[in-house]
Subunit: 131 residues, 4 copies
DNA sequence: GTGGTCTAGACCACC
DNA sequence: GTGGTCTAGACCACA
């Protein structure tokens, strides 16, 4: 896999965000072992030190933990994952609302716009939703 | 005003989008004269040629027009402005839905999340909307 | 009147061509007196020496003649005018045919194309033609 | 090849027209790869940026397209080519009629003049056309 | 190697 | 002063 970065944020932060998303979306499952720092860095095309920093930061957020010689693992605590997921979603939603506000959309108008677009796209994911 | 750019899109495209937003949100009013190419470039902290390119492209979209020696002006055609505004909103909404999908949110969940966040923020714009 | 020149040919030649056209098209009538060199140069926005050279060259072609102190006059010899007119027309036609040939039009196709375009434009001048 | 430009039109526009003509006349065949921007600019004796601009504009008209790192190619769509060819021919014919009008030729006279000149030149292309 | 973008600095026509 | 064009030279991503 080729990872693409933009240069307006530190690479390690972009790596963090990417791994975060892989975890909260389930691409990396709870308890799953991550590749070794070296292998992971190679895969991402970055320096191992940069990957190390990203993983260390993620440890502080509790999303992953480190076992001495065994490597890094995704946390088993699904509550932490849920919290981070919620946090990312809120941030994203805030940015979206802000963006629409800049276009002159009031919150209710944004809501209507989103509903319209959902209906127009057919909500192909809808059938899977049975909560 | 300091303009901030990220590096994953050409600067002229980011400038275009920014000016687009200023127009569709009414910050730049229909018929209003833009700063001269050089002054505008200085304000944005970019090369005049880059600003020139952005304005030339915006001309093509009909959002602005120019008069020989008088400068660039926002179009008077409010319909064009409305169309671009709609187009930008759709693009933004599509990206938002995509981002939430990557977090594992199904469309309905995204919708609920947005509603919750709107309620939490108190919809301060809502009161003005009913007047 | 503002005269416009392009820079890929000497100014005097462009002036010559322009005066030629004024004569053969009848804008300057046979026998008519031209403005003084100085006045003519002023009108054209060029140096009097340049105008002088243009007029001298036109004298050689016989289109105008010079009377000591009275100034320059368009020739009375309508045959000379007709010849120059024919010459200019031929040159122009040759260039046109050449240009169409470069587009891949054979002479007959060019002829057809011209006829079509004439019909499309309605030949508004046709009524005046009673020769 | 040395390219010659006149100064009363932007160079990039003259380059565009020249390439247009090479395409519509078949000198550049549909699907053919153009020289690289730099090589083409060198050949034309202009700055690569100027050539770049010309090619970008031609892309917009659909006459050429480009592939990421492979270069620019003439379109395969012969209909687009035919349309542009027709458009150029009409423009050229219009200019010719206008030029003859300035010489005092009415449309029918222009037509006769063209026919005469065609006959005088022997229509050397005509014979080939009947084969 | 390819196309694409950006900058710096210059010149032009127009009014 | 305005917009527009052109050049020279640099850097980037892609493959």
């Amino acid at each position: 896999m080729q990872w693409d970065f933009h240069s307006d944020a530190p690479i390690y932060a972009q790596v963090m965000e990417r791994i975060q998303r892989m975890i909260v979306s389930g691409t990396l499952r709870p308890g799953e072992r991550l590749p070794s720092v070296r292998a992971f860095a190679l895969e991402a095309g970055i320096n191992p030190n940069t990957m190390q920093k990203a993983l260390t930061e993620l440890e502080r957020s509790g999303l992953i933990y480190n076992q001495r010689t065994a490597g890094h693992f995704v946390t088993d605590d699904s509550q932490i994952i849920a919290e981070v997921r919620k946090s990312l979603a809120e941030q994203q939603t805030r940015q979206y609302l802000q963006g629409m506000r800049e276009l002159g959309f009031k919150p209710d108008q944004t809501e209507q716009h989103l509903l319209q677009q959902l209906n127009k796209e057919g909500r192909e994911d809808h059938a899977n939703f049975d909560l």
